[in-house]
Amino acid sequence: MKRGLFIFTSVFLLAILWGDLSWAKVYIDIRSPSFRKFPIALYPFKTSIASGGDVKVGEQATEILNNDLNFSGFFALLDPSIFMENTGQASPARSPSETEKGLNGGSAASIDFRRWANMGAEALVLGEATPKGRSLMLEARLYDVVKKELIVGKRYTGDITDLPYMVHRFADEIVFALTGENGIFQTKIAYVSKATGNKEIYLMDFDGRNGRQVTHHQSICLSPHFSPDGKKIAFTSYKGGNPDLYIKDLRTMEERRVSHYPGLNISPAWSPDGQRLALTLSKDGNPEIYTIRPDGSELLRLTNHPAIDVSPSWSPDGKKMAFVSNREGNPQIYTMDVNGQNVRRLTFDGTYNTHPAWSPRGDRIAFDALIDGNHNICTIQTDGSDFRILTANLNRCETPSWSPDGRHLVFSSNLDGEPHIFLMDAEGTRINRLTFKKVGDTYPNWSPRFKE
């Protein structure tokens, strides 16, 4: 009986697995070393105004999607001027009259795929936004130009202000359909901003849109860190007159103080399973790393050294931690097991290496190194080999945090005096600035993909 069940279950699971593989067609093998950018055409989204809608909605959708696809690094977007020159001839449909039909009906048969293929596109995105007062319907389709078929099509309805989220979701669909990997376009970045004069925690979309204030402590808030389900943020605040640790629920906006030992309660880091928080306390005389449960109970001490131990970062398997210690004279990156054993020094270049961030893929650790008087973002293999400096002395580049797919890093830099938030690819290529306010924005932390 038991054996039968076991065999059945394994057969069933195998069938699912096999089905998975057989159904999947990966257009872009993004893990392959010979990966090339996938040529894709994004035809500007149409806006069909039913009654008093905003004509620019389609334009906005196109701009957001264009930015998403570009940012991913997977795609070579066709220059719109190629296919916009003569709308009549190069429109997605065979003739101007069919353009309407092609966009509205989403009928693959009405699209002249050969024309798109000749222009160099292997995939085509068409879309249409229908604003109706405060509500919005967005339809978008991704076509395989070579096979002349629809790959994925979605219709979203919601509030007009949801436009970016609809577009981000479709961008995630595109990435998933073509690469088999989940996209990151619905992720957020938490950061610290001095916009009000005090350091408070803020939140924005990964592309810098929709920045908003999360805390109103009128004190000093530092070190925001997302829970692995993305629903909560742990951070340090001086609200109670001491650097204490708080957890804020992002949906209910409820806030709890979870650690307020005498002295420091700083540098929170959520374990990958969400069950524990690593943090730094100085209650026993000097800064040491501990873990607690997110409700503040079950305090466990991990490090025991008269030097400074601070800034823990969990490995994605939850078995190890990287941290900063000055036990050998100056701050360096170390790793240890989560029980505090097997402490290993990782960095030997330079005399000031801080703020480790373990990649979600597990292979590398990003950190902040003081090199020739400049802070630079660096990465290193978890065994201490292959040390790479990513930023080229762009003044102070600090506090790296990985995107959930491990392909990008967010960090703060004060290229123009005041610190701002920047993004770059994990190889150090393509640096983009995200925040533009005059005030200082620091300490970015990239959210995980949100889970229900």
Binding site: N67, L150, Q186, D207, N210, G241, V310, Y352, F450
Partner: protein
């Protein structure tokens, strides 16, 4: 045979149940999502594809098929695809109308992504404005203000009493006074006014200053602020000068047994805020241990680290940075 099939049934039911539970979790929805247009599986076949109207009419039937062909994960979870999709609303963006409208306007201006070359051009333009701006911020905390006040009393007593009280410190003023204050303060700096609680909010600096002066009158006059001690870069060992100052603090505390002080550890802005908080903590602890060693009861001493968050001077040059690596002493109740 019967047993076997019943096992299969149980397993099947459990899978269906799991699918239901998974889809049941998704109740909150802002954006509704549905699959549109069935894919054409054979390229040249007659228009198998359903037009929009039809897909809309039967949205439930479409997603399963559409997804099965192309996406591995959703394919496996085909039956629950539509419901869970609907649940995937970005929860961190609840549709608070007020916020979103506001944010939208900003976002359009600010979210423009700038390539690295362009970014560089920002540097010169804003760099010129930098010192002044930072100064405004730095000048606000009362910790800078009191010594300045003391200085004015000594050297320019007649001048601008009112303006001073306003705590309206322009950047030039601070620049010129601050360095001098260093020299004057340790010996005969502002006596009464030096012990402003530094945590005091900026706006209330004036009121706080007067309020703080009162409890202090119980103690013999002493310039605690002027005895702040300096540290080397990334260092929390006490210099001989620091020890000397701490000995003065200790002897004053022994003469004023009711006095309690807070030791505030600070750093320059080199390094990350977390490491600097730890460093500031150790600087405060060094002073605390030394004072305890001199016989000051630990119940009269408290510590706090502000790391790099409360610079005395803007971290614009090495001279200022070295002054920011310090412990401050503040009277507490």
């Amino acid at each position: 045979m019967l047993r076997k099939s019943s096992v299969w049934l149980v397993v099947l039911i459990s899978f269906v149940a799991i699918a239901f539970i998974a889809s049941g979790c998704a109740k909150k929805q802002v954006i509704k999502e549905e699959a549109v247009a069935k894919p054409v599986v054979e390229s040249k076949a007659a228009p198998v594809e359903k037009p929009k109207g039809e897909a809309k009419a039967a949205p439930g039937a479409v997603p399963g098929e559409e997804v099965k062909v192309y996406s591995p994960k959703e394919g496996a979870a085909a039956p629950m695809e539509a419901p869970t999709e609907e649940g995937k609303v970005p929860e961190v963006a609840p549709p608070e109308a007020g916020f979103k409208e506001e944010a939208k306007g900003e976002a359009q201006e600010e979210a423009k992504v700038v390539p690295s070359e362009e970014v560089k051009t920002y540097a010169p333009k804003e760099e010129a404005a930098l010192p002044k701006e930072q100064f405004k911020e730095e000048a606000k905390p009362p910790e800078v203000a009191p010594p300045e006040a003391g200085f004015k009393e000594k050297e320019e007593a007649a001048k601008e009493e009112a303006a001073k009280e306003e705590a309206k410190i322009s950047s030039e003023e601070v620049k010129t006074y601050a360095p001098k204050e260093e020299a004057v303060a340790p010996k005969e700096g502002a006596k009464e006014e030096a012990q402003v609680p530094e945590i005091a909010p900026k706006g209330e600096a004036k009121i706080e200053r007067k309020a703080a002066a009162r409890p202090e009158e119980k103690f013999s006059p002493f310039d605690l602020a002027g005895l702040r001690i300096q540290f080397g870069f990334d260092d929390y060992n006490l210099s001989s000068q620091a020890r000397e100052n701490l000995e003065k603090v200790a002897s004053w505390m022994s003469k004023n047994p009711a006095a309690k002080i807070q030791i505030q550890g600070n750093t320059c802005n080199i390094g990350t805020s977390e490491y600097n908080l730890a460093l500031g903590e150790n600087r405060a602890m060094s002073a605390r241990k030394y004072l305890q060693g001199l016989g000051v009861s630990s119940s009269r001493l408290s510590t706090i680290s502000y790391g790099m968050e409360k610079p005395m001077l803007p971290n614009t040059n090495e001279n200022n940075r070295s002054k920011n690596r310090r412990d401050e002493f503040v009277l507490t109740k």
